[in-house]
């Protein structure tokens, strides 16, 4: 072999990671060895700095079995919180609100709104309603790999993305954010945001596959919940507009959320002073006029823990054309109606000793607002909301 080695190959050789033929070339080529000496000198600078990564670990490392016990002790809370996280995730829009909206979409179609057109725009959020749900049954499904795969298959087979949300773009001020987002982004005048970011909207279509969805229910131990075959093949189109996130204090980088390691991070302890104000115009949903979403909503509520009677009663109390329904885990959160920004809002609080959190949600002039933070000082959120221009 006469061809000289690349810098990358020379670097790999320093770690003994070069294949035999190239190693033989290196041994016989003084020019390559000279270049490798230079690379070695460069690498050694990094090696010195990073030597702590290979240092002996402390002997106080918890034993694996002890750690496993701790894992099991903490895990029930984690599973409960994974549901709650959908409400309080930060940044709310990127990690949580979209999920909440997706849930709401599935629960929020009008039953009897059959108009002449086959495709209708039905869903406009005008208010927020919280429904306490016992997620115990769903929690038991966590970690069920068969169901996990079925859900994954169902989503990948049923959902077609027409527009994927891009990475958040940082805006210099509210005016630029408004220009980017296409609606007036409101920022409290007395506070200086640490970041304002705007994320593009998203659009996707869900094609209902009754057989797969029913198989999922069966696998989940709920064959008693029977999906109507009439919905098979129905297309539901969802358009989620561009959204804005206004951060105060030290908050996580929204762009880092795509990283698998950054999703649901230990942000709570890292960002104790972080407050997120999220703003998003109401999403738009189109569906065949005959699709009986209220029936599906009832099934969904039953699946998530309500009895059939409870689900039916709740379904009848909600105006599905205008209500964002947020399922909250029972015993994990409290909620109350509050006046905010001149309208009725919902204050949700998680009164945990170790990591109390709150979220304030309201809808005004077609825009959904959410302020979320750690701690118990929810008055702060009310003050921010009431100071919006």
């Amino acid at each position: 072999m006469n061809k000289h080695l690349t810098e990358g190959q020379l670097r790999a050789a320093l770690d003994g990671e070069l294949d035999g033929a190239n190693m033989r070339h290196l041994e016989s080529c003084s020019a390559c060895r000279a270049r490798q000496d230079l690379i070695r000198a460069e690498s050694q600078q990094a090696a010195r700095g990073l030597s702590f990564l290979a240092s002996p670990a402390p002997r106080t490392a918890p034993a694996a079995k002890t750690a496993l016990n701790r894992f099991h002790q903490r895990n029930p809370t984690q599973k409960e919180i994974s549901m709650f996280r959908k409400i309080f995730a930060s940044p709310l829009l990127r990690a949580g609100l979209a999920i909440v909206l997706a849930l709401a979409v599935m629960l929020s179609f009008p039953q009897g709104r059959a108009l002449a057109d086959q495709i209708l725009n039905l869903f406009r959020v005008q208010q927020v309603v919280v429904v306490p749900v016992d997620f115990t049954g769903m929690q038991q499904l966590t970690g069920n790999s068969t169901i996990g795969k079925q859900v994954s298959d169902l989503i990948s087979d049923s959902v077609t993305m027409q527009q994927k949300p891009g990475d958040p773009v940082t805006a210099t001020d509210a005016a630029q954010a408004s220009q980017l987002a296409g609606f007036t982004v409101r920022v409290p005048p007395a506070m200086t945001p640490s970041r304002i970011s705007v994320e593009n909207g998203a659009a996707f279509t869900i094609k209902v596959d009754v057989a797969k969805a029913q198989a999922l229910l069966n696998e989940a131990g709920r064959p008693d919940l029977v999906l109507p075959t009439s919905i098979d093949g129905s297309d539901v189109s969802v358009t989620i507009p561009a959204s804005a996130t206004v951060a105060f204090g030290t908050c996580p980088d929204p762009a880092a959320q795509d990283n698998p390691a950054d999703l649901g991070t230990t942000a709570g302890r890292k960002y104790p002073d972080c407050i997120i104000l999220a703003e998003i115009p109401t999403p738009t949903v189109s569906a065949p006029a005959g699709l009986d979403i209220a029936q599906l909503a009832q099934l969904g509520l039953e699946f998530s823990g309500m009895t059939s009677d409870q689900a039916a009663a709740f379904t009848q109390t909600v105006d599905w054309t205008s209500t964002l329904v947020i399922p909250l885990p029972k015993n994990a959160a409290t909620y109350q109606q509050v006046m905010v920004d001149g309208v009725n809002g919902t204050l949700i609080q998680r009164p945990a000793d170790d990591a109390p959190q709150y979220a304030l949600l309201w809808v005004k002039n077609g825009i959904i607002y959410a302020i979320s933070s750690l701690g118990t000082n929810s008055q702060q959120a009310l003050d921010i909301a009431n100071s919006l221009p």
């Binding site: 810098e7 990358g8 020379l10 670097r11 790999a12 770690d15 990671e17 690379i39 460069e42 690498s43 600078q45 990094a46 090696a47 700095g49 030597s51 702590f52 990564l53 290979a54 240092s55 002996p56 670990a57 402390p58 002997r59 106080t60 490392a61 918890p62 694996a64 750690a67 894992f71 903490r74 895990n75 809370t77 599973k79 309080f88 995730a89 930060s90 990690a95 966590t142 970690g143 994954s152 030290t250 996580p252 990283n259 698998p260 390691a261 950054d262 999703l263 649901g264 991070t265 230990t266 942000a267 709570g268 302890r269 890292k270 945990a352 170790d354 990591a355 959190q357 979320s372 750690l374």
Partner: protein
């Protein structure tokens, strides 16, 4: 805002910090989770994942929390079995990114540095206080440099310098093993550049 682990525990004293075998390599797991229990996976990988994090952060309590968080994530959303299924690599990568994410948080970094300094004083590797502080200062700068680095490059450096073989890094990052050499060299150059800049900033 999705931190639900308990608040800090007292940082355990790190005494008798004698040399012990470095155990950077993850346990290769070929079989799918259906054939192996989650607990087996936990028990086999806990040590390497924890030790990686404690070296990265210098804070045993935080390392334990993040190691548990790594396994929580696996438990909640395990990687799908199939070609290239590599749960050990997945765990190591998630742990690496959790560690880097923590380092990037300024407030957390301050705490790590305090903890690391305290640990060093409680278990001096040698009887030279000046050398201890010098080492900790080097580590502090190195962590700062990692925090400022391109995340992918920081991830690669942590994996390599914690002892992972190229093929394991490649499997964890979804890269070709032959691409590790050139990527590593680029990452080292960027690291050295950032490190020097930090030294000058603080001079």
């Amino acid at each position: 805002m999705d931190e639900f682990l308990p608040h800090e525990r007292a940082i355990p004293a790190m005494k008798a910090r004698k040399a012990e075998p470095v155990e950077p390599r993850i346990v290769p797991i070929e079989a799918s989770l259906s054939a192996r229990s989650f607990e087996d996976l936990f028990l086999e990988n806990w040590g390497p994942v924890y030790r990686l994090l404690v070296r990265m952060l210098g804070d045993p309590a935080e390392a334990e929390d993040l190691a548990l968080e790594t396994f929580f994530r696996f438990y909640r959303r395990p990687p799908q079995a199939g070609d290239g299924y590599n749960p050990g690599g997945w765990l190591y990568r998630v742990a690496t990114n959790l560690g880097l994410h923590s380092i990037r948080s300024f407030k957390r970094r301050e705490r790590y540095e305090l903890a690391a300094g305290k640990a060093a004083l409680e278990s001096p590797p040698e009887d030279q206080p000046a050398a201890i502080f010098e080492n900790e200062e080097d580590h502090r700068l190195a962590r700062l440099a990692l925090a400022r680095l391109n995340p992918r490059r920081a991830e690669l450096l942590v994996m390599r310098y914690s002892g992972m073989a190229y093929k394991d890094i490649a499997a964890a990052l979804g890269l070709s093993p032959t691409s590790i050499g050139p990527l590593l060299l680029r990452a080292e150059r960027e690291f050295a550049k950032v490190y020097r800049a930090l030294e000058q900033e603080e001079a």
